[in-house]
């Protein structure tokens, strides 16, 4: 059999299949979707006559399992048949039109479940109440005499299924309020059940943003000025217009040029051949060596924003029997999502539509509206599956603005913009660069009496939400170092403590990078505490226990990993342990790494024990998956990751110059999930922070070498 797929054939072939792909973009609940004619019970739940239950998910699924976890929570209260559950995304436009019926769509800060568990559970509970009421009305009995299970309402021997009741239930008014189940009564939530979204990821059928095909669609490749803040001076479109498939060459904003062609490969190769002259602007000479010197000066600068202060650090350090001091640094990182940035946009003078993988559909809609020149009500964003997010696809939708700007040049034609990996590497929204100077005072007995932690470097908030900088202070810089609170309280009790920040912002766009500032703060604090313990000739675990005496949840995760790793017990020759703990994103986490270092200085990370107390655990096996993944993300940065600038340009271009962890580098990970109840913490990010310091502390135990500058691959362990 032979299938002829010429370019024309290709376009018609994709037209033929795109109807199928578009099934995912139906307008749920409002118009005809896969969901069919039964009205919704509320924004979260729709039950169909065939007994399938559609649960709406406002947050984005990017691998972290939130889609399954949120569905579990709704289904727990709804008491439907889990095997009949389907999920769908409401669109940002619908959320806007319905006065944000689905609340926030933002999927970052490990907030997907912890910020919405209450109202999504209510959605399930209220829908259940309507179904019970509809049955009770039919049977003329009291609702309190009815029970539900697996999608059926029962009263004595009478039974009606949710599918039979849904149409009547949808006509009823919901109760004003409703009692949610305590976690102790959960039957579905809290269990390590399988994800809902695995099957399509096993046979190539999952459609990611990059895979979208629309009738008549063209493809675009883009090149932004390699120097941040630079502009396009000129380009010679005529030089590439004659190339096969090329339709148009457009300038995008001040700083970028795009080629539009029938296929992306033709667009990309034409773009590479396009002569462009850049006005490199004021940052043409920026480089990382100079940035490091500027940050270094900030470590001793007289002015700094205070994050935490108690007692009198100056006096404590002056009067200390012994002082310990060290300077650490943490470089820029790229998110390096496996799927590069991409968006498909279609623009007409009346309407702008965007299909894109995004962590925040509403922010994508706002970006589309701004770039299109149309009011948000005339725009729509269809969220496509994300090939990784890690924070890159959340706060800033630069690629969406670009796609819309390109589509505006071709009214009525959908244009899919895909970045090359090189473009993605050079134009990230980078994990900020910082340094930290820590000074500790010890008394004669080896007790920690004072600690000054001076952070110098880049502020994400100043780069993305400058309106949130108050009195020159970026509160997010002190992540995990707060004096108290539910988000990231410092567990250690130090009588004299000062944590401050000298803001130094290089001209490199910063971004929220999975784990955010908790990552480097944990390296700084947990490695330095290890230094303090060794200086005082004390056991690092014992010192931490002393300082955490009044922080039982911090202490519990620390003790859990120490016990399971066999801290203090004999172990195989050459094997050494390192510890770290921190609180972040509302959860308590700790790790104990076991490593060996060969005589040649080769590091082997044998295993890592990790403990998490997220308060409530909705799906423990997915928490384990997030914890395992956190070590890949955190250790990729610690071992390999570094974005540097030279001549104003990012030097790394691809995975050959920005290496990341692979299978052979991966340690065994044993996860202890220990929810203690009473609070809701996140799990996607906190463990990343303990990955690096646990390994670095183990390296010190093995070699006596203290690694204070990352990545490790630039250091010698011999």
């Amino acid at each position: 059999m032979s299938a002829v797929l010429s370019r024309r054939g290709f376009l018609s072939a994709t037209s033929a299949v795109s109807g199928g792909l578009l099934v995912g973009f139906h307008v749920p609940g409002l118009t005809q979707g896969a969901a069919g004619p039964t009205p919704e019970l509320n924004a979260w739940v729709q039950v169909l006559p065939d007994e399938s239950v559609v649960i709406r998910i406002a947050r984005s699924e990017m691998g972290q399992g939130t889609l399954t976890g949120l569905a579990q929570l709704v289904a727990e209260e709804l008491e439907c048949d889990w095997a009949r559950v389907k999920t769908e995304y409401p669109t940002p436009g619908q959320n806007l039109a319905r006065n944000r019926a689905w609340g926030s769509m933002s999927t970052g800060g490990s907030r997907g479940i912890r910020d919405s568990h209450e109202y999504v559970r209510k959605g399930g509970a209220l829908a259940r109440a309507l179904l019970i009421q509809a049955a009770a009305n039919q049977w003329n009995v009291s609702v309190v005499e009815c029970t539900t299970a697996a999608g059926v309402v029962q009263h004595g021997s009478k039974r009606l299924s949710y599918g039979q009741l849904a149409a009547e239930a949808a006509k009823l008014a919901p109760p004003a309020d409703i009692q949610l189940k305590p976690a102790s009564a959960w039957k579905l939530a809290g269990r390590p059940i399988k994800r809902l979204d695995t099957a399509a990821k096993l046979d190539g059928s999952q459609v990611y943003g990059m895979d979208l095909s629309l009738p008549g669609m063209l493809n675009a490749a883009i090149k932004d000025c390699p120097v941040f803040g630079g502009k396009v001076k000129s380009f010679d479109a005529a030089a590439v217009m004659g190339r096969p498939g090329v339709k148009k060459v457009v300038q995008v904003g001040d700083s970028a040029v795009a080629v539009v062609a029938d296929t992306w490969w033709r667009a990309k190769t034409a773009l590479e051949a396009l002569p462009v002259v850049w006005d490199e602007g004021p940052n043409a000479a920026q480089n990382s060596v100079e940035t490091a010197a500027i940050l270094r000066a900030g470590l001793d600068a007289p002015e700094a924003a205070v994050g935490s202060s108690q007692g009198d650090v100056k006096a404590a350090l002056a009067g200390a029997a012994r002082r310990v001091e060290a300077v650490y640094s943490y470089p820029h990182q790229n998110h390096a999502t496996m799927e590069v940035m991409n968006a498909t946009a279609k623009w007409t003078p009346e309407r702008c539509e965007v299909w894109t993988p995004t962590q925040n559909g509403e922010a994508a809609l706002a970006a589309a509206a701004e770039a299109s020149g149309l009011p948000p009500a005339q725009c729509e964003v269809y969220k496509l599956h994300l090939g990784g997010g890690f924070g890159r696809r959340g706060a800033v939708h630069d690629w969406v603005r670009q796609a819309v700007a390109i589509a505006k040049e071709l009214p009525g034609t959908p244009v899919k913009l895909i970045w090359s990996r090189e473009e993605d590497m050079m134009h990230g929204r980078f994990h900020p660069v910082t340094q930290c100077k820590l000074t500790a005072g010890l008394d004669a007995a080896g007790k920690l009496t004072g600690l000054h932690m001076r952070i110098s470097g880049q502020s994400i908030i100043a780069g993305i939400f400058p309106q949130n900088i108050k009195d020159g202070k970026d509160p997010a810089v002190f992540q995990g170092l707060s004096a108290g609170g539910a988000e990231g309280a410092l567990g250690y009790a130090v009588p004299n403590l000062l944590i401050d920040h000298a803001m130094r912002n290089p001209a490199v766009p910063p971004g929220f990078w999975r784990g955010v500032n908790l990552n480097q703060n944990a390296v700084y604090l947990e490695c330095f505490l290890d230094e303090v313990a060794h200086a005082a000739q004390r056991d690092p675990l014992e010192l931490r226990r002393e300082l955490l005496a009044n922080s039982p949840k911090h202490l519990a995760v620390l003790n859990a990993v120490a016990a399971k790793a066999g801290w203090g017990k004999p172990r195989a020759k050459g094997r050494h342990l390192g510890l770290a703990q921190i609180m972040g994103f509302g959860s308590y986490v700790a790790a104990c790494a076991e490593v060996s270092v060969s005589k040649k200085g080769e590091l082997k990370i044998h295993r890592i024990i990790a403990a998490t107390d997220p308060g409530h655990a909705v799906n423990p096996q997915q928490i384990a998956a997030q914890v395992e993944g956190s070590f890949v993300y955190g250790l990729s940065a610690a071992l390999f990751g570094e974005i540097t600038l030279k001549d104003g340009r990012v030097e790394q271009q691809n995975f050959d110059t920005y290496p990341v962890m692979k299978m052979a580098d991966m340690p065994a990970v044993e996860t202890i999930c220990m929810p203690s109840g009473g609070f809701w913490g996140g799990v996607g990010e906190p463990t990343i922070a303990v990955a690096a310091p646990a390994v670095l502390n183990a390296i010190f135990a093995a070699t006596g070498k203290r690694i204070r500058d990352l990545p490790l691959r630039k250091q010698s362990l011999v």
Partner: protein
């Protein structure tokens, strides 16, 4: 008009000689399960089989291939996701975002064909694909499971219920 054999079918397409197989698959043949991740054979997201051997299709010019060579993509790995690796992947809930998993599965399938009972060292050597979500440990466990070297109950990942 060029001609290739993909997933058992003869296909024809038009493309410049430098066009990588990856982009022919994705853009000319609508086989988007094979992913673009780096374009320089570093990440393995584009892995397909050519006559059973794993090849990074992003650096393989389509014009270098002939119709006599059998190209298999993730869409052609098995008729109904029934390859032992796909079953093992499903049993252990391996994928997170899933973007790299087509390449992971194709690399693993080629490995098992060459070495039906791979050691961990064999897996380390053959599985050089990049996963940023961090599924490596479950990928390793699923390969051993598919190879029959361990039983499901011996793998310390508890996954209950779920859908068929």
């Amino acid at each position: 008009m060029a001609e290739l054999t993909v997933n058992g079918k003869r296909v024809q397409f038009e493309a410049e000689a430098d066009t990588p197989l990856l982009w022919v698959l994705r853009e000319q043949l609508s086989l988007t399960g094979t992913k673009y991740g780096c374009g320089v054979a570093q990440c393995g997201a584009c892995t397909v089989h050519i006559d059973g051997a794993p090849v990074r299709s992003c650096v393989m010019p389509a014009s270098a291939l002939t119709p006599a060579q059998k190209i298999t993509t993730i869409e052609g790995l098995s008729p109904t996701a029934s390859h032992p690796l796909q079953k093992a992947w499903d049993a252990l809930d391996v994928p997170q975002c899933g973007f790299c998993q087509s390449g992971m599965l194709m690399a693993a399938a080629a490995l098992l064909k060459a070495k039906p009972k791979p050691t961990d060292a064999d897996i380390d050597a053959a599985m050089t694909n990049i996963c940023r979500c961090g599924t490596y440990n479950r990928v390793r466990a699923a390969i051993h499971l598919a190879a029959g070297q361990v039983q499901r109950k011996q793998i310390p990942i508890v996954i209950e219920g779920g859908r068929a």
